[in-house]
């Protein structure tokens, strides 16, 4: 099945109370199929066909605050149109679960893969989970329900995979039994439900100089603490599915001297190159972040600190920043080590441009050069561009 099929199947098994979504390429297939499930009575979901993504996120916030398990999906410009509502969903602590098909932002108009959407929303207060392939997307979406709805967390969660590359490619996905998923996600437990007329509350009130800081501090604490819960949920999921997840995936890192840090589908290509170089006896490895928010800085530092040189690759530009989003996070995590690995940063694959084995190979060759020279001549570069 395709990545989008895997999403709609997961949504069917989760059987949320409410889905308010608007179609946008390349996510459309997932919500379209889910709407069919609703029409055919396979789920009990109330499907709200909204007129825009701003409305879909608004409807989701209201529905979640009312006490309903709520899901939605979007991509690119749709994500951008939701932006105003994203920190509101997080600030009101409504555990909305959102699937995002990673797609570039305009202009120029481009419908293909880039992490522009979710990386732009990385500080909106949501938990962020990234998925390399359809199987991970399916597994992550089911886990997201438990993570977001945990009584100590209560935060919205976005789970993403690469637009077209993963959303539209057909691959093998092992599905769990409907009953097993139902049991795993359990019942939605409302806190301060808007429908509880005996205990009325005011939601979305104003908090100025006297209270705003405490609200944000509370929110910040919840997302920092979610790290441990994410691992607990992953452990329970592994017992059910046999598939293990962590905060990130370490691929042949333990004895590695050179490594890449790369998110989502391109990590698959990179693993092939790692295998090829390993066959020649070169000690290379890869770290693939899964949870980007909360960013597991300490754990990533410990996983990478023994390396000679690291290349952090992002499928998004950061226009004048001190590096792309993952690079600035990883380099910041490494700061303060007595002996720091040399680090470089690449932008690759934006607007859906293919990343090939030889491209990844070039990055490793660059890492060997950097390590040999003992210094970095150019911190930041584009990987495939006609200069």
């Amino acid at each position: 099945m395709t990545g989008n099929n895997a999403v709609s199947e997961a949504m069917r098994q989760i059987n949320p109370d409410v889905v308010a979504a608007y179609p946008i390429t390349p996510q459309t297939e997932a919500v379209e199929e889910f709407a069919e499930f609703v029409a055919n009575g396979l789920v009990k979901t109330q499907y709200v066909p909204v007129e825009s993504e701003h409305s879909s996120m608004s409807a989701c916030i209201g529905s979640s605050a009312a006490g309903a398990r709520t899901m939605t999906a979007t991509s690119s410009a749709g994500f951008a149109l939701m932006w105003e509502m994203l920190p509101i969903a997080a600030g009101l602590r409504t555990p909305v679960i959102m699937y995002v098909a990673n797609r570039s932002l305009s202009a120029p108009l481009n419908i293909h893969c880039g992490h522009d959407d979710t990386m732009g929303g990385r500080d909106s207060g949501w938990i962020q989970i990234y998925s390399e392939n359809a199987q991970e997307m399916y597994d992550n979406l089911i886990q997201a329900v438990r993570i977001g709805e945990d009584m100590d967390i209560r935060l919205p969660v976005m789970v993403s995979m690469d637009g077209f590359i993963t959303t539209h490619s057909v691959e093998r996905v092992d599905l769990l039994d409907d009953e097993a998923v139902r049991k795993f996600v359990g019942e939605f437990k409302a806190i301060n439900s808007l429908l509880d007329v005996d205990n009325p509350v005011t939601i979305g009130a104003c908090a100025l100089q006297d209270y705003y800081t405490e609200h944000k501090r509370q929110h910040s604490e919840a997302i920092i603490n979610s790290k441990a819960k994410i691992l607990e949920v992953a452990e329970e999921f592994a017992k059910m599915s046999g598939r293990k997840y962590g905060l990130f995936e370490s691929y042949k890192l333990d004895d590695a001297e050179y490594a890449l840090v790369i998110i989502n589908s391109a990590a698959g290509v990179a693993k092939m190159v790692v295998n090829e170089l390993r066959a020649k006896g070169v000690k290379v490895g890869l770290l693939k972040p899964r949870i980007f928010r909360p960013f597991p800085a300490e754990e990533i530092k410990n996983a990478l600190k023994h390396l000679k040189a690291i290349a952090v690759m992002d499928r998004v530009d950061a226009f004048g920043a001190g590096g792309t989003p993952t690079f600035t996070e990883v380099r910041s995590a490494m700061y303060g080590l007595p002996k720091q690995p040399l680090m470089i940063n690449y932008i690759y694959g934006i607007g859906g441009r293919d990343i090939r084995l030889e491209d990844i190979n070039k990055v490793f060759q660059k890492l060997f050069d950097v390590a040999k020279a003992g210094k970095v001549d150019k911190v930041f570069d584009y990987l495939t561009v006609r200069e």
Partner: protein, 97 residues
């Protein structure tokens, strides 16, 4: 405004107020620079001030002006402005707190 400010552990999560109607406790009269002074003898009890007061601070009893509630009166002066020119029963004076 709530009398005692809560710390982050005491607050319910999600920016929620568990005690609806709490704007009653927020005594906005504290913003006031001028306060209305009402002259019973001049007043014809036409109730124009009662109609125009944007905060419902003017209390009426048995068809007559009974009280200016200074807890919420922000001293906007609309009551004094609307009081007919021939009557002028309301004066805005500096409120020295």
């Amino acid at each position: 405004m709530a009398k005692k400010t809560m710390n982050r552990h005491e607050m319910p999560i999600g920016s929620i107020i568990k005690d609806p109607g709490c704007s009653m406790q927020y005594e906005t009269g504290g913003w006031r620079n001028l306060k209305p002074v009402h002259d019973n003898k001049k007043c014809t009890n036409c109730l124009l001030c009662w109609i125009y007061c944007p905060d419902g601070c003017i209390k009426v009893k048995d068809g007559k002006i009974a009280e200016f509630d200074l807890k919420y009166c922000k001293g906007c002066g609309i009551c004094a402005e609307e009081c007919p020119d021939k009557v002028k029963a309301i004066q805005m004076v500096e409120d020295k707190k």
